[in-house]
Symmetry: C2
Subunit: 241 residues, 2 copies
């Protein structure tokens, strides 16, 4: 059975000031006393971003052993050698294309694919990377990602920062829902549009939405609103229904 | 000297009801009595989309000879054989990744690269395809595009449907400006954020913004507001300054 995956839309719900304050309980269960390997490659300044996230998590959870994976001489080897009872990986947000490119180049992507026994946490781009592909990212393709396959810790797609259409807008660009419908013109796998503040927890072969609401998109079905607390375990068996 | 390229953000400015009504004059000069080869591959239903655009253009310009390039037995050959004095290509909007994939697969991308002497018009994804790469699209990567290089009819990047930040939003996703700044963390080429209703005209070695306003992003420079009518010819010589 794969280890737990805790996949955040982002670090906070609408209007909240303190990152991860709303998610202290699941984070505490997920991280506990473990070493947390933070993967900052979606970001720009890797040291600064690692420091920012370490501070944000310690602010909520108390003292932690957060280490920047990018500081390791061979980050892929660090993942390959990680102790599943004492270490957790946390993949941060930023630009998903850059994250996919860098983790593809340095071997971390393949190492993560091979370590389903290692607890995985992700936020935004880091949650995109936990899906079968990165194809439901909102990011701009600022680099060639070198491929679209991702870690595949869950069998469905996440669209993080899911955004409802603004009824007052005159903008003619596609709404998020229209973009996801375009995805389903080309792909069959379900997409969970995680509003800000929401997360998915994959644990012991269950899948649960919590933290905030989401919108579920399945090919050939009308979209469905999901309240916080929804059990989505059935999706694990029928991700392309 | 390359033939004219007329590159629209989209088909209409904010609040306008009739597609291309604000752009009748440049479209008339660009298309005239020519056959217009419409390339609909960014869209879903290719016949319906071609019909929709043909009707919209005829509504503004009067009777036209609009033909769907996807209906040709060998669309790349049609481009290769096109008469530059009698034919113009128009690449429509939709999903840029799908457009890049399909035109890469069917040879139209390479054919367009080789025909700088052929007048090019584009809207949205079709304008992205006229740039050096498709890396400043807003679209979701619903398919692997098979590459990021594009036709390169202008030496700078367009971000179509450029959107200003909403000061009342609590959304934590990146603003468009932040996404373009991320692009400049990885790339040097200038980006013209074309607000809806704006277009660029590349003609006789001049580059002009018209139709609406835009915002210019250059690496290492503060963004600059551009009013309609701005002469951007200097950018042609220094696209990565």
């Amino acid at each position: 059975m794969p280890a737990d995956a805790l996949l955040f839309s982002n670090s906070r719900p609408p209007g909240a000031a303190v990152p991860f304050a709303h998610a202290a309980e699941p984070l505490r269960r997920h991280v506990g006393e473990r070493t947390l390997w933070f993967a900052p490659w979606a970001g720009g300044d890797l040291d600064a971003y690692t420091g920012f996230v370490a501070e944000a998590l310690e602010n909520v959870l108390g003292p932690l052993d957060v280490r920047g994976l990018h500081r390791e001489p061979d980050p892929a080897a660090t993942i390959r050698d990680a102790d599943p009872d004492r270490e957790t990986v946390f993949v941060g947000g930023g630009n998903t294309f850059r994250l996919r490119r860098r983790t593809g180049d340095n071997g971390v992507l393949d190492a993560l694919k091979a370590r389903e026994d290692l607890r995985y946490a992700g936020a935004s781009a880091g949650s995109n990377l936990a899906c079968p592909t990165i194809m439901t990212t909102n990011d701009m393709p600022i680099v060639d990602p070198g491929g679209y396959d991702a870690v595949g810790r869950i069998p469905v797609q996440i669209n993080p920062h899911y955004l409802d259409p603004d009824p007052h807008s005159t903008h003619r660009g596609e709404t998020r829902q229209q973009r996801i419908e375009e995805f389903h013109e080309e792909n069959a796998v379900a997409v969970v549009g995680l509003r800000e503040g929401a997360w998915l927890l994959h644990s012991d072969d269950t899948l649960t939405l919590d933290g905030y609401t989401a919108r579920l998109f399945r090919r050939g079905h009308e979209p469905v609103e999901l309240p916080a607390g929804t059990d989505l375990t059935w999706l694990l068996a029928t991700p392309t229904s």
